[in-house]
């Protein structure tokens, strides 16, 4: 078995199993803890909690105007590279073909030249994010191994993907194998660290929004 066959065969399968089991374990780890009922009389009917929760899922995507002067730039940087990642992962032809083989669906992609440009831009934003984490006093203080390693495994996928697309440094088959192995690594790390926020984002916002709506407070 060559490296490419290993990367997209047993390595990918093992990584996917670890990913699925790990995500389920991580979620079950807190979801199975007791959930205390709030006995204090709500100010609003349950319908408002639901709409409050759903609206907060959307509204927390961007800071309230009162906070923008202090946080707007940092949040814009954060969202920019997430959008870049989404485009590269979801709208690149070979990725669509791969995901299609897993899920049996397909959708139109973007030209590969444009994807390359977006990948380079996204990688640049990744470097900016790392620079900010290393230099901003608050971020530096909060950061731990998880932050840096999660950054590393995600950036690695981008770099190896760009190298494979541009055929830089090694035969294409090898570059593709390395790229897929980097994806395998990301899948294995995903449930172990902060990348899990992809699963937590919506329920976390919704719960806080519903909690505040229950009190009739803004969220």
């Amino acid at each position: 078995m060559d490296l490419l066959a290993f990367a997209r065969g047993p390595a990918l399968e093992a990584a996917l199993v670890i990913f699925c089991v790990g995500v389920a374990w991580r979620i079950a780890g807190f979801a199975l803890l007791r959930l205390r009922r709030d006995l204090n009389k709500p100010r609003t009917p349950i319908g408002k909690w639901i709409t409050g929760g759903l609206m907060t899922v959307g509204s927390r995507s961007w800071p309230h105007p009162e906070f923008i002067p202090r946080t707007g730039a940092g949040e814009a940087l954060g969202y920019s590279y997430h959008i870049g990642l989404f485009i590269v992962v979801g709208l690149f032809g070979p990725h669509i073909a791969f995901l299609g083989s897993l899920f049996g669906i397909s959708w139109p992609g973007l030209p590969s030249g444009l994807i390359t440009v977006i990948s380079v831009l996204t990688l640049t934003l990744f470097l900016a994010v790392l620079f900010r984490r290393l230099t901003h006093p608050v971020l530096r203080m909060l950061s731990n191994f998880d932050d840096y390693f999660s950054w590393f495994v995600t950036a690695l996928v981008l770099v190896t993907g760009l190298a494979a697309t541009a055929h830089i440094g090694a035969p294409y088959q090898t570059l593709l194998a390395v790229h897929i192995l980097s994806v395998d690594l990301l899948l294995v790390w995903f449930p172990c660290g902060k990348l899990m926020h992809a699963f937590y984002l919506v329920p976390s916002r919704a719960i806080n929004g519903a909690h505040l709506a229950r009190k009739g407070a803004i969220s």
Binding site: R26, G29, F30, M141, L142, H197, I218
Partner: protein
Amino acid sequence: MSDATSALVADLAPGQEKTAQARVAGAMRGFAQEIGALSAFRLESCIHCGICADACHFYIATEDPQYTPIWKVEPFKQAYKREASPFAPLYRLLGLKREVTADELVKWQHLLFDSCNMCGRCSLICPMGIDVAALIEQARHAMFDAGLAPKELYQKAAHQRATGQPEPSAEPYREQLLAIGKRFGVEIPLDKPEAAVMLCVPRTDIEHYPSAVAALARVMQHLGASCTFRSDALVAENYGYYAGGKSWQRDISMRLIEQALALKAKTLLVPECGHAYTALRWEAADLYGKPLPFEVRHVTEFLADELVAGRLKLARAATGKTTFHDPCQLVRKGGVNDAPRALMHAMGIELDELKNHGGFSFCCGGGGGVLDIERAAPLRYRTMENKLREIDDTGAGTFLTSCSDCRRTFDDAKSHFSWDKTPHSLLELVASQLSGTGSAP
């Protein structure tokens, strides 16, 4: 134990003595007892973006990263990951998360008490939607169990739990209350066997703003409301809540709840006190163990309802340019958004709003018991400067609020900074503008 830690420990109150081991065990027990699905999820969801720092006035005033709200629960986050998270066995086996030490807990006392008003502004900014303030409240419970609540809060909580008053007074509050009635010429309804509305009063008002106590009695008298204070449960504040002593908070709340039950009251009326509102409106039923069989209402909510019902009529108030401070516990954390403004509108007041108002208002700086912690004063003053600037920038000559602890904090700033504004009570203004005869609700 470091010198700084030893000094902090030496500054604790009698009754808070513990070995280092017992402090860590107490903190972990206190935190673990409350780790439910929701708080675990909050701890799991943090992505270390640091954005919560930009909502916190302690960080904004100092640019000191240690005041980042989520950092204030860092030892407890570590403890959760090591002891209770899904990968806890791995963390312990591989030594990836070390045990929290007593030294760390002692250092964190400053972050959890002196530099946090529990105002909840951080919970509005988190892009993940984490209620950081709820985590901080939980961490305060753990600190209390570690014997590390600041001595001022601990002592007042202990005294209030035992006697109903946070501090001894030359005359019991009951006598002071009656004296206030005589002095201001208003009947103080006291110890009636039954009443629809049970009243209580901030001890801040008894000690510093007796006119606010008289205003409450006057308004209720004007409305002809069936109401009474109860000698056994006069004080609205809950120092157990401030200190983080959950069982003490319960005992203090129960004093009011039991009296309201004995009265068969339909409403427990919370006076102008923000933290009393949070403790009674949004936490008391959980501590009581079942839903309260009466309403808990802030006095501004009650009066705004009376306005709508047509039972309360107010004359126009010639206050000139006026601004208003939204108490965090009432507005941001309590949802009492519209009632104060409805009352001011009824008096013809067009507000010149603060730059950050409503749910986004900055805390006065004294909330969460910070006003009571003596050593926190220099940091509190530094933090307040931004708030005072916002008030000055409105150009308003009249400055109102609806929480007596906020009022006291601003009054303290007035003398510290030689500030030219005086904070006034919205309730007192309402009481001075009563018109018509009122009728029983």
